[in-house]
Assembly symmetry: C2
Homo-oligomer: 462 residues x 2
C-alpha cells in the first residue's frame, strides 16, 4: 500500500528537509502537530504504510514515531495505533473571522435584489441532481464559449413564450449576469468602432462605468412622462435602455418611443441594448413585451436569473443579432468569463421541467401581495406621498417634496431603514430637472421582516 495517508482520508504535505531522514521526519511531524495541521486524536498511518508512501525504511518511521511519543506529541496504544496526543495545544493561529453577519441595516429595502430567502433550494438541488446525472461527459470540460446548448435551447423556448423574444439557441450567449454581458458588449461595440452609448437619465452608475472603462462616452437621453426621449437619439453607436420597466423610475417606455428607438437603430445602424432585468414580474393586465420582438436584428435582449432566482448564480443571457452573436461569443472565449456548467445545466432543467415557471409564478404572487400592502399602507399612513412605478418589478418610487430627499434619507437611516434616493441613480450630466424621491425595494426583505420594514418606512414618511 502506498497511499496510506490517503487511506486515512487525508492528504498531508511533509517537508522532510535534509538533515537526516529520521530527524527530518520527526521535525516535520512535530511541526504538523504543533501548527495544528494534525489535530488531536488524528490517527497516523502505520509505520509500514507511511514508509512505503515516503520511500524510506519502515524502521525510520517507527523510530520517529517513538521519538514523538517520548516527547508527548503522539500516543501509541495496542489496537488503536498511533495518534496525535489529545493534550497537544496547537500554536495559536490567526483567529478565523466569524461568518459575515448581515450589515447593521435593520430593514433592508434596498432596490435591485430579490427576496433571496425564497430561493427554491430543494427544487434547485433536485434540478442539479437530474442535470448532473443526465449530462454528457463533455459538460464537465472546458465548454462552448456561448454556454451550454441545453440552456440556450431551453431559454429560446422560454423567452419566446414568456417575453415575446425572437430567440434561437445559436443567437444566445450565456453570461456571468448582466454585468458580465455588459462588459462583453462594451468590448465588442468598441471593436466595431462605436465611440458612445446613449444611456437613460436615471440608471446604475456601475453599469455605465463598464462602458466608460472601455473608452465609450455615455451621453444621457432626456426624459419625460412617456419615458426616455428616444427621438433625441443621434450619432451614438448604441443605446442602453430598460424599456419594460425603467430602472429605477419604474415606468414602461411608451409605444411611440419604442418605435422611435427601433427606427433610429434601422436608420443609423445603431444597436439597442435592452436590459430586461425584471421582465418576469409584471402585475398590470397588459403585458409589456420585449422590444427585441420589434426588430431582432437591431436589438440585443439582455436577461438575467438574478431577479427571478438569485444573484448568486451569476447567470445572465443575451439574445443577439447573428453578427453580434459571433463577435460576443469570440470575446467571451478570449476572456474566459464563463458561468458554472453545473448551474447552467440545472437552470436548463429548471426551465424545461416547469419549475422555473412555478417559481416565478409564486414569487410574482408574493411580490404583488407586498406591492398591494405597500400601496395600502402608504395610502393610510402617508397619504401625501405619491407612489409610482408599481405596475411591475420589485421596487417603487416615492416622490418627495423638492429639496427633502436628503433629509428623508437621513431620517430613514436613523431608523435603520435602508432605501436609496433618486439622486443616487441620476446621470451626472442629465438635463432633466432633478426629482426628489425614494427608491424602495419591496422585494428585498425576507417574509418575516417584511411587515416590520413596511412599518418602519411608514414611520419615516408619516
Amino acid at each position: 500500500m502506498v497511499d496510506s495517508w490517503a487511506n486515512l482520508g487525508v492528504d498531508l504535505h511533509l517537508d522532510l528537509g535534509r538533515s537526516g531522514v529520521r530527524k527530518g521526519l520527526t521535525d516535520a511531524l512535530r511541526d504538523a502537530v504543533r501548527g495544528g495541521r494534525l489535530t488531536p486524536g488524528t490517527r497516523l498511518p502505520s509505520s509500514r504504510s507511511l514508509a512505503a508512501d515516503l520511500g524510506i525504511a519502515r524502521n525510520t518511521v517507527a523510530d520517529a514515531y517513538a521519538d514523538l511519543v517520548a516527547e508527548g506529541w503522539l500516543t501509541a496504544r495496542q489496537g488503536s495505533g498511533t495518534r496525535v496526543a489529545e493534550r497537544t495545544v496547537p500554536a495559536p493561529k490567526t483567529p478565523r473571522p466569524a461568518p459575515r453577519r448581515a450589515a447593521k441595516v435593520t430593514y433592508d429595502l434596498h432596490p435591485g435584489s430579490p427576496d433571496v430567502s425564497s430561493f427554491p433550494r430543494t427544487e434547485w438541488a433536485k434540478a442539479t441532481r437530474r442535470a448532473l446525472l443526465a449530462a454528457p461527459h463533455d459538460a464537465f470540460d472546458y465548454g462552448d464559449p456561448r454556454g451550454r446548448l441545453e440552456l440556450r435551447t431551453a431559454l429560446a423556448d422560454y423567452l419566446s413564450r414568456a417575453r415575446g423574444v425572437h430567440a434561437e439557441p445559436d443567437r444566445i450567449v450565456i453570461t456571468a449576469g448582466f454585468v458580465g454581458a455588459l462588459q462583453l458588449l462594451a468590448r465588442v461595440l468598441r471593436t466595431r468602432g462605436a465611440t458612445s452609448v446613449a444611456v437613460e437619465s436615471y440608471g446604475l452608475a456601475h453599469h455605465w462605468q463598464h462602458l466608460t472603462d472601455e473608452g465609450l462616452a455615455i451621453p444621457p437621453l432626456p426624459l419625460d412622462g412617456l419615458g426616455t426621449r428616444t427621438e433625441a437619439l443621434g450619432a451614438e453607436g448604441a443605446l442602453l435602455i430598460t424599456p419594460a420597466h425603467q430602472f429605477p423610475l419604474g415606468n414602461p417606455l411608451a409605444p411611440a418611443r419604442r418605435a422611435q428607438a427601433v427606427d433610429w437603430a434601422r436608420r443609423t445602424g445603431g444597436v439597442i441594448l435592452e436590459d430586461d432585468y425584471d421582465g418576469e414580474f409584471r402585475y398590470d393586465r397588459q403585458a409589456v413585451g420585449a422590444l427585441q420582438g420589434l426588430d431582432p436584428d437591431r436589438v440585443v435582449y439582455c436577461g438575467t436569473a438574478s431577479k427571478s432566482l438569485a444573484p448568486a448564480l451569476r447567470i445572465g443571457w443575451l439574445v443577439l443579432p447573428a453578427d453580434l452573436a459571433a463577435q460576443v461569443a469570440e470575446a467571451k472565449g478570449v476572456s474566459d468569463w464563463q458561468s458554472s456548467a453545473v448551474d447552467q445545466l440545472a437552470l436548463a432543467d429548471f426551465l424545461t421541467s416547469g419549475a422555473y415557471d412555478h417559481h416565478v409564478r409564486g414569487m410574482r404572487l408574493k411580490y404583488r401581495r407586498r406591492r398591494d400592502e405597500f400601496v395600502a399602507a402608504l395610502a393610510a399612513r402617508a397619504p401625501h406621498v405619491r407612489v409610482s412605478g408599481i405596475a411591475a418589478g420589485l421596487h417603487a418610487v416615492l416622490d418627495l417634496p423638492p429639496g427633502t430627499e436628503q433629509s428623508v434619507l437621513r431620517a430613514a437611516a436613523w431608523r435603520g431603514v435602508h432605501v436609496q434616493g433618486l439622486g443616487f441613480f441620476r446621470h451626472p450630466e442629465a438635463t432633466t430637472p432633478p426629482r426628489d424621491g425614494l427608491v424602495v425595494g419591496y422585494g428585498t426583505p425576507p417574509d418575516h421582516a417584511w411587515a416590520g420594514a413596511l412599518e418602519a418606512l411608514c414611520g419615516v414618511l408619516s
Copy 2:
C-alpha cells in the same frame, strides 16, 4: 383567478395590438400557434381565467376561441377544454442545432484536461444538496467579492494540510479558474506600477496573452536541466512560474532555483505568481510542496479545481500577501467576475466532508496506473522515445529527434491522435534551443478510450 396562464404551468406573452380587443386576441393566439410558441395539444386557459388575466370581458375571450376553433387552429371538446389543434403545422423555424458532437478527434490525448468522464456526479449532487439546505439566506444574494467564506475556510485547511501553503481565509480570493485569477492579477500588478512579468520559456500563450492585454511585457527566462533559470531574474515586477510541475515540460523546479526566486522577490519587491495547476497529482515519493510556503508575503499561490475536479466549474483560488489580497478583492468587486455561490458552497462541503480527498485519491491512483501503462507501452513499442515529466500530473513529454516534430504531429493527426508538439508551447522570444517533442495528456481520455488511445499513439511512434 388572475394568473391563469401561470396555472397552466406556462407563461405566454401576448401582444394584443390596437385593432379591437377581440381581433387583437384572435390574431395574437393565431400567431402563437402558427409560430410554434403554442404547441399542438397545449391546453388553453378557461375563457374566464384568460379574461381575468388580460383584464378583458369573458365573452371576448370566448368569441376569440370560437373564431379560432372555426379556423381550425384550436379544438374545443366537452370536458377537455380548449386545446391547440393537433393538425396545426407550425411555421418552419430555423432547425435547432444538434447537441455538439465530440470533434472528429478519435483519440484525445490533448494535455490540460482531466478525465472529465470521472467527475463525481453523484457525490457532487449530494454536496450541492447539503450545501443548499445549510446555507444562510445571504448566500443567494450578491456576495463578498473574495468569494464565500465557507469555501475560503475549507481551502485554508486543505491547502495547509495537503500543499504546505500558509493560508488564512482572509488572504484567499476565489476566482473563475486560473484565467480569471490571472486577469485580476495582471490588472492589479499594472495598477501597482509593474511593466513586465517574467515567464517561462515554455508555457501557455493564452495565459501570456492576458498579461500583454494589460500592457505588461512578458520576457522569457532561460531554461536548463534544473528548470527555469530564476537567477536570471532582473527588474521584472513579477514572475509567473509552475514550480511543482513545469507546464508542459513536467520537471520540478530545483531547490536552489526555488530559493533564488524567493531571494529575488525579497531583494527587488517582485511578486511570484505560483501556478500550482496540478499539485494534487504527484506520484513520486518525495512531495514537492508549494513555493508559497517559503515566503507567503512574496508568493501568490494559484490553485484550481479544473484539474482535480472539472474545468466546467470555473473555480480557482488565490492565496495572497495581505496587501495584494485587498487589491485583488477590490478589482474583483469592480469587475464582478464571480463564481457561482452554489458551486462554491458545494466545493466547501466537498472539502470538509472528505469527498475531495477521496476523489483526488481515486484519480491519483487512476492517473498513476495510466502513467505506468503509458511508460511500459512506450518501452515495449517505441524504446527509442525518451519519456520525461512523469513524476506528477496528467501529461508527459516524449522527446523526438531534432526536426521531426512536425512530421510526427502530421502522422498523429492522420491516425486521429490528438496531441500537441512542444513548439506550440514555446515562447516566441525564448533563447533556449528548441526541443522537438510531443506533449501527451494521458489524463484526458475516458477509461473506455484509454487503451485504444495508447495503442494508436504507439502506432504513430513505433
